[in-house]
Symmetry: D2
Subunit: 339 residues, 4 copies
């Protein structure tokens, strides 16, 4: 960590700060500059918070050199982590995994019917929302536990593992029992109590990026889960919030090479929420695969204009099937495959 | 609500959609345009989701005319709501309320000592974090329940009501019993389960704006609390995330006139988190008061460079006292006061 | 255009506004709503500015139904525009075009040497900066006209057309004489005098997206060029400015399907400026091709750590060659090709 | 400047880089860390570009310690710069200056009439747009030179100095001759050729912040003007572009203390463009004054709903007069005044 000190700092203050760092077991190396003095702190700085050091009024700037994450850091864990979701492997050089299904579970018939379509089209994991984060208290809030059971039924009928969003720690047992991949949604990416809770289970976690989360924030949220004991984290990019209004969010595809460079964890892309418009889902999906992602999660509905939520971004099954065919060609062009 | 239809929509699809709106009790008024046809839907559209209508592939655009919030809407509730926090009134033409205290409670002595300084300086409510949302799992996570009890002790010694952040619904009884104003933090602004939970109590809620929440999202989160039965909501702006790097966040002061125009609820400003730097706290505080806010919430620490969190943005008590003096003059210049 | 009026608007004001619209040749259709009244304006609204109508204090909201651009609008020009750059065709179903070269021209030898490498690797157009927009007045500002002549020499030796950035209308003759594709940089995307000036020539224009330009702003800037008489516009996405700090900018790849849906003009992607880091250029390039872009513009330097600017994002020729090989495979997977 | 090197960098590469820095006259101080090695560069680093150093593939990170601006830097120029605009002093402890006038000059009668209103209300400088940057080529583009002459006439009749936007260097003589304060608009803040051109004159420059310009970018644009010989620069904040849609832009008031801390130049606030809505202009104006700004520039029109541009954000003269009265009270509360 690099600490920049003001030139006019009193010697007494300098000594106090120097001493404080040494007490934490850090070596302090000093460089005298023209406008500032600079200290390099050598040792384990992961538990230091830059902003706490900045609180010293003689400190002009603090800059981290080593990343603040350790367990997620590829530097200390060079080999790829491959996460097993109900028998489907995600990450490393495994085939790219396609997850599909309705935004909201609307009943057993609906989800079983769509699950069969998803499977027939070539999907491997069934997505579906039972607990729904909705901006408006007047919108449909999801079928809850009943929806989870409906999904479990769809798994029984199709053999596909299921992924669904957990919004609250008090439902965790229900998810451990019934769900194969536990999604933490964008709005809860920094709900740290929930992150700790899913750190205490072993089920794989699909960690969506918050709408205004930096990549570093996002990796730190994964670090919470890892540090609490659950190594099975999959990142999921779903677009960030920007000034642009022609799309619902702005997909940030640079995360694919960056997550692969800095961490050892898999990364999956959600083109439905990032674009918010089914017309752009295919282009974003093919792009994500070419960029090197480990999977896609796509909203599919057999009757989008009757969907209870997010129909605007849902693909009809035949378009989903056509997308997978094209995606397979792109995957092969970058030396991956789709099962 | 205005629905724009593509010119080439088949008559059968048009009829189906028309019928669907009428079934929901809406009148449909049609306007034939050159490039598109336009429908005006008259009736109660609050439960309609624009995006669900957009799912129809013959719909080009959907535009809400009436706001999606009702209980928070000043149009249906013209008089100001005044919220009572342990005897201190906030909102309307009441004097501006100053809340101050440490970012983190670090023990009974610390919080009692700072509480006395806050009171002596002219503050009316004591803030302090017992449960701390921290980006890193390796940072100090707060003293938890012990911290809440320490704050309660400080209230006993100073008479000041206390505000602290609730991160998880399972602690709600602890907060109802001990805390006067329950803060929902920026990272939980769309933790809808938590919003519903605090909607079921009657304690006043301080609802911070999420880092990437639009003003409309924020009002909708208040609407969740109101719709679940708790009318005592105070908005708190703490800056939004932008590209700017010289400050931690970008304070959006236009929220003051906008919240007052569109809702009847009070609004408080947090200049500490928005700037992230104590040097800019005074300027932002005076600005917020001139803009018409109902209160300030400011981090105060008697030894910022020893603070366990966020020292960089904490004011020393003497600077806090000096700020309140200046703030009072500005308040009077805009025909308000500070107690 | 949809105009929402406040319920309490005085009849006299309503009549005045109604009359004003009719005087502009627009039909006014009225819908009476519960909270507001709504007018639909039918006719040619492209020259109306939403904000001018909003100036009327009885107007609550204004919403455009038809797009504000006409010449760029695919609705009125369904077939793809194919732009010819010195014999290389860009757009429609033409093969994807790869442009490469140094950020800055550093002299004749350098640019000729790199040009040969670009051509050998499979590039078709040579890029190079002679006039350089630099954030700091103390940074290298480009070789100017000498740099343009150096590029012309490189064209002579390799046969590749050249693209370079025009920063000021007073150099336009120099560019018409010497350059095949005239780049308008991100910082000048709304330098409307410059847009008008390049609208008066017939050379193809590469119009980069501004760092905070919405897609609509960007299309409107193209509309400036088209409306002034030059139909040869190619869009170039180079990333937008967001809060994310691990990349220089955030590439917005949704622009590819959106530009193709809403306009008839070609679109090219610049992965070098969007990522700011050569390590991520390949992933973004392949993604852009899979998304359906018409070309790539990539910074190439044979000695990036000696480059006079932007070495950090420059590919070495061998990596550029390897990228093109991979890009060709991805192009073929989406039924395009690279020459 | 701090350069972080990868641990696995070959000695030969390290030596080469070390030598390169020494050749530029910099001392290199080395610190060996656990995960990285760190170099501190001591000497004049203003002409170094961080990104050029990053181009070396063994460099992991580069961090500037000293600011990249020198002439604008308060560290080297501690006393406030006071800029004289036609006899009106702006900056330091001078009274706060109010500029007002129409968005667009619409003719001599209009601008003279409004100028008189502005003066009567207490304004000191007349603003008016003759050359207008408009997003649409179909919108009114301004009266041009005729508008400048109309403003000069208004100055003759009222004695107020005038400010107007210069969009192109070829009109610079016209502005030197007729205009007292030359505005560089947000869209041209990084039109470096224009910045150099106005650096060669001595007229005061009002430098608006670009919509996506960081504060550092903005100061660097001022540095361009200063470095070319013109010391008379006034900053003008007009809001930045964010995701928020209830306002046109998001005003960033933290710039006031930051610009005053880091530079010695005056700063003026434009509440009309930042909010885009006259209803919020008063609140933002009072806030800006409380924050410590040196002036306001406000759009005033006697008939906003007939204005040829931006009526929605224009104040009527009586509201402008009332605003100035309130502003004066707030100014006095922070120990400033308004003339």
């Amino acid at each position: 960590m690099i600490v920049t000190l003001k030139k006019n700092a009193p010697q007494e203050e300098i000594d106090k700060l120097h001493h404080a760092f040494e007490k934490r077991g850090l070596e302090v190396h000093e460089i005298e500059g023209d406008d500032f003095n600079v200290w390099g702190l050598v040792g384990d700085t992961a538990s230091l918070d830059e902003r706490d050091i900045l609180a010293n009024e003689w400190v002009a700037n603090v800059q981290r050199v080593s990343a603040p994450y350790k367990l997620a850091n590829r530097m200390f864990h060079p080999e790829d982590t491959i996460v097993d979701v109900g028998g489907i492997k995600i990450g490393g050089h495994e085939p790219i995994v396609i997850m599909g299904g309705p935004c909201s579970v609307e009943g057993k018939d609906q989800v079983v019917r769509i699950a069969k379509e998803v499977k027939a089209a070539g999907g491997q994991i069934l997505r579906g929302g039972a607990y729904k984060p909705r901006t408006s208290p007047y919108s449909f809030q999801g079928l809850g536990y009943e929806g989870i059971l409906d999904m479990a039924e769809a798994r029984k009928e199709t053999g596909m593992p299921i992924v669904s969003e957990l919004m609250s720690a008090d439902k965790i047992d229900e998810f451990v029992e019934n769900v194969d991949l536990v999604q933490i949604g964008a709005r809860n990416m920094q709900n740290f109590d929930l992150l700790k809770a899913v750190g205490h289970i072993q089920k794989p976690i699909l960690l969506k990026r918050g709408m205004s989360a930096s990549i570093e924030d996002w990796i730190m949220s994964a670090e919470y889960i890892l540090a609490n004991g659950n190594p099975n984290v999959i990142f999921c990019e779903r677009g960030i919030r920007t000034f642009e209004r022609y799309t619902r969010n702005t997909m940030d595809l640079a995360v694919v090479p960056i997550i692969k460079e800095r961490t050892h964890l898999p990364i999956v892309i959600d083109p439905s929420h990032s674009t918010g418009d089914w017309k752009y889902v295919e282009a974003e999906s093919l792009a994500a695969i070419a960029a090197g992602c480990d999977g896609l999660i796509i909203e599919v509905h057999d009757c989008p204009d009757q969907a209870w939520s997010d129909g605007a971004q849902s693909l009809k099954p035949e378009r989903f099937a056509s997308l997978i065919k094209k995606a397979r060609r792109v995957a092969q062009a970058v030396d991956r495959d789709i099962q």
